[in-house]
């Protein structure tokens, strides 16, 4: 498949030096670097490779052209042994949910039993990997397990978001790099990964969200794409894009003839009809499951996208751009991403510098007092410097401060009111005029 890059496999796993992956992103400038890193290149390559694999194909069967599509549960997708192993792993993890009874004690929202489930998975980590992965991958367990364990939401915050989804993508990408998946024709193994593994992962995630009432991690409220997920919208749109040959570019407009209309998303009966065939509609169906209210009101961004005239190809292209900007370029999301020998925190020599606006607008902003004359007071410090970025979230239904530092700080002394020790917070960068210039690019 010349011209369509795929994630490079590591030559010799035996001599490869694995590393315990660590956090590298601590502020806005780290996000800037990340967007030019090898890790970023590999994530994007793998994501695009999976995306392309589920686009319908024009195939020549005995001299007649025929269009093959890849709906969910497609009989045309044969799962390799590797895919089956991962499916077995996910089934095991799902069964563990049934083993952890819900906590019935007082709670505000998220159920603390999720922590027990998470702990179980952590405790059985090596067992699970031993059973599901071949022995020769054992040296990679610590590195792979970091991504796997980061895929299921935060036990501490009882939330789940696109950062966790990204971690699972990295788990799969890491396995790919290690040669865990067999060599095959372009798209064959990838389709198994998307339809066989990723969709099953999403089922597990939906079960976790519903069972333990996990909250969205980092929420724009109704003004985000989806409270929890992103990739099903990318892959789901690809499934409905017009058919291509192996040498065609990935389509950027048009739809597969007979594909459901994008506007169907606001009609729950039609969503119900499509959800077992398509990942986009499957994700929308989950929104209907957990939300009460008019679709256009609780999901206005998806509603607006459903009015697009350029077909699923255009939606697919837009979703990829949006994934790049709203997931990979957002500090609150990628700050938790871990870097090691598989996803390297190292500059990609061929990377173009990222456009300055894609990441800058995702930083917490501080309005300089000059913007509103009424608040200007002499001697007030102007905000300058580099922001240290926040975990942002929606934890048990509560708002977190976007500027909060992550490190624990000592609590204030119990009795000393005045002497109460204060956390020191990092200064913030953006000045107002810069914010205004950048902002429009973030509109959606």
């Amino acid at each position: 498949m010349p011209g369509f890059p795929t994630l490079q496999r590591i030559g010799d796993v035996k001599t490869h030096r694995f590393e315990e992956p660590v956090k590298k992103i601590y502020d806005g400038s780290d996000v800037t670097f990340f967007l030019t890193s090898l890790a970023y290149r590999d994530i994007m390559t793998f994501m695009l490779q999976l995306n392309r694999s589920v686009v319908p194909r024009k195939q020549d069967v005995d001299g007649t052209a025929r269009v093959v599509t890849w709906p969910l549960k497609s009989k045309d997708v044969a799962y390799s042994d590797s895919v089956e192993r991962l499916r077995a792993l996910l089934t095991r993890l799902s069964k563990l949910v049934d083993d952890v009874p819900l906590d019935t004690g007082p709670r505000r929202f998220g159920n603390v039993s999720f922590r027990k489930w998470h702990q179980l998975v952590e405790d059985q980590r090596d067992n699970l990997l031993n059973e599901c992965l071949p022995e020769w991958l054992a040296p990679a367990y610590p590195e792979l397990a970091s991504y796997l364990l980061g895929s299921f939401g935060s036990a501490q915050r009882l939330d789940y978001g696109t950062g966790h989804e990204l971690s699972f993508l990295a788990f799969l990408g890491g396995l790919w790099k290690l040669g865990f998946f067999p060599e095959a024709d372009a798209g064959v193994e990838e389709r198994g990964i998307v339809l066989g593994v990723f969709e099953q992962y999403l089922s597990l995630i939906r079960k976790l969200i519903v069972t333990y009432t996990l909250e969205p991690a980092g929420s724009h409220g109704v003004w985000g794409l989806d409270d929890n997920s992103f990739l099903p919208y990318v892959f789901g749109a690809a499934q409905l894009a017009p058919a291509i040959t192996e040498s065609d570019d990935t389509p950027t407009e048009g739809s597969l003839p007979g594909a459901p209309e994008p506007s169907w998303v606001s009609k729950s009966n039609l969503v119900e009809k499509e959800k077992d065939k398509n990942m986009y509609f499957s994700a929308i169906a989950f929104i209907y499951d957990i939300k009460k209210g008019p679709f256009w009101e609780h999901s206005p961004v998806l509603y607006d996208i459903s009015g697009i005239n350029g077909g699923w190809g255009k939606i697919n292209k837009g979703m990829i751009k949006m994934f790049n900007a709203e997931v990979l370029s957002k500090f609150p999301v990628v700050q938790h991403f871990l870097f090691g020998s598989l996803f390297r925190w190292e500059k990609d020599a061929e990377a173009r510098p990222p456009p300055p606006t894609t990441h800058a607008t995702s930083q917490p902003l501080r309005t300089p007092t000059a913007a509103s004359p009424s608040t200007t007071r002499p001697g007030e410090a102007p905000w300058a410097g580099t922001p240290s970025q926040p975990p942002l979230g929606f934890v048990n239904g509560v708002t977190q401060a976007p500027w909060a530092s992550r490190g624990p700080a000592p609590p204030p002394p119990r009795s000393g009111y005045a002497a109460a020790q204060r956390r020191t917070l990092p200064p913030l960068t953006e000045n107002w005029s810069k914010h205004e210039q950048n902002r429009p690019t973030e509109r959606k």
Partner: protein, 442 residues
């Protein structure tokens, strides 16, 4: 301005945004009114206290249906009008219009979401851009945020549960026995009583406490007082107006003041008067007293703790007991945390959380509540400030640090009526036109 305001109110009640120049004018006028208010506004009972709204406009309309309209009902909103919901703009502007039109009948205090930085992260900014195509309206609103009061002090509340016209007959015919006194009650959206709590007595060992627990909206089977069986479906709950009140309120005992803040207490604030010294007309700082008042949460800890939110603090029962004691407060009312039952009393009823956004974010399945405090009729309703000599005191828990018997005698808590309600029905909301999507999909 009144005419302009009435028109704007009508338009906003229909959930239609008003034109940008009108927003500008409204915000200007609102600032003129708010700038005259102190950091801690004095509000006289009767008053209806409300928690987070978060842009849930239709549920705000339901709140007014259940609690009565402005100006018939005196309202106090404890902040977080915006973010997360679809209608932050309509909700906030309507409340602001009502404030300009009836400044003495509605009090708005600031929540942690009434901030530039938070609204750019949690949705209100995106909403303004989408609805107006520019950030101007967002900017006008943020300028109003800077002028919102930080707290309110409710004065002259009675220890009795306030009378409500909707259950007057009932109350009269089933007055509790002489030695029992209703301390709080919970009503559903139709005014049916779901549960009551009787005040504890402190004579000798007869610590009678009776609490029928009912956490959901449907009437509990074991309510002390049956709700009127023939409650006409058409009759909306009426509000306790001063005239109806005098008919049914016997002279009652005074209670301390009730402090209302969005989040909670601050280790930097020992007295209510200290709040008055803050220079509030600014963006919410990342730390300090002003930040804490808007961000802190009560928690089952001793003393102060770090907040997982990354701003404000956690504070325990001992902190609240001492604060109330030192300030002659009978109760702290706050919002800021989702509670599934709409309200949650903690720490021996020294602090209550009120949450007014039902089915938060379309998915949490919670009910919402508002809290009504009645007027104390015994002193003409104009007690400047309860002090140690006035008002009944009741012990609130023990406090190890005091030594000895360790019981702190605080002012008796005010009578509290909670009205709980569910999300507004969606039947009437039409589907809007799809907006052109942003650059990603061009």
């Amino acid at each position: 301005m009144i005419n302009v305001c009435c028109r704007a109110i009508a338009q906003l009640r229909a959930c239609r945004p008003i034109p940008e120049p009108q927003v500008r004018e409204l915000c200007y006028k609102a600032r003129e009114i708010l700038i005259e208010e102190g950091n801690v506004v004095s509000v006289h009972a009767p008053v209806t206290i409300c928690g987070d709204i978060h842009g849930q406009f239709h549920d705000l309309m339901e709140l007014f249906r259940v609690g009565g309209d402005v100006p018939d009902t005196n309202y106090l909103f404890m902040g977080d009008f915006v973010d997360r919901g679809f209608y932050s703009l309509e909700s906030f502007l309507l409340l602001l219009c009502l404030k300009v039109r009836y400044p003495d009948r509605i009090t708005l205090i600031r929540g942690n979401h009434e901030s530039r930085q938070i609204t750019t992260v949690y949705g209100f900014y995106d909403e303004c851009i989408r609805k107006y195509g520019s950030a101007n309206v967002w900017r006008y609103c943020c300028e109003v945020f800077d002028y919102l009061a930080l707290g309110a002090l409710v004065l002259g509340a009675t220890t009795d549960v306030p009378p409500a016209a909707s259950d007057n007959e009932n109350t009269q015919s089933t007055l509790p026995p002489e030695d029992e006194e209703v301390e709080s009650e919970v009503l559903n959206a139709n005014g049916d009583i779901l549960s009551k709590t009787l005040r504890r007595r402190f004579a000798g060992l007869s610590m009678m406490s009776h609490h029928t627990n009912s956490s959901r909206i449907s009437p509990a089977p074991d309510v002390d007082v049956p709700s009127p069986p023939d409650h006409p479906a058409s009759s909306l709950p009426l509000q306790s107006s001063p005239s109806s009140q005098s008919l049914f309120t016997p002279p009652t005992s005074t209670t301390g003041a009730v402090l209302c803040v969005h989040g909670g207490l601050s280790p930097l604030i020992e007295t209510v008067d200290k709040i008055r010294l803050i220079d509030r007309k600014q963006e919410v700082p990342h730390e300090g007293a002003m930040c804490d008042l808007l961000w802190s949460d009560p928690d089952e800890i001793e003393g102060w703790g770090l907040s997982p939110r990354g701003a404000g603090f956690l504070f325990g029962a001992d902190i609240v007991r001492h604060f109330n004691h030192n300030n002659d407060l009978s109760l702290v009312a706050r919002a800021h945390q989702l509670v599934m039952e709409g309200y949650k009393e903690m720490f021996d009823k020294t602090i209550v959380t009120v949450w007014s956004a039902p089915n938060y974010c379309y998915r949490c399945g919670n009910v919402a509540a508002i809290l009504e405090l009645g007027e104390d009729g015994s002193n003409g309703g104009c007690i400047a400030r309860a002090n140690g000599d006035q008002g009944r005191r009741e012990p609130v828990g023990t406090d190890g640090s005091e030594g000895g018997s360790g019981v702190l005698w605080n002012l008796a808590s005010p009578g509290r009526r909670y009205r709980v309600f569910e999300a507004a029905p969606q039947g009437t909301r039409g589907m809007p036109a799809k907006k052109p999507v942003g650059e990603y999909f061009l």
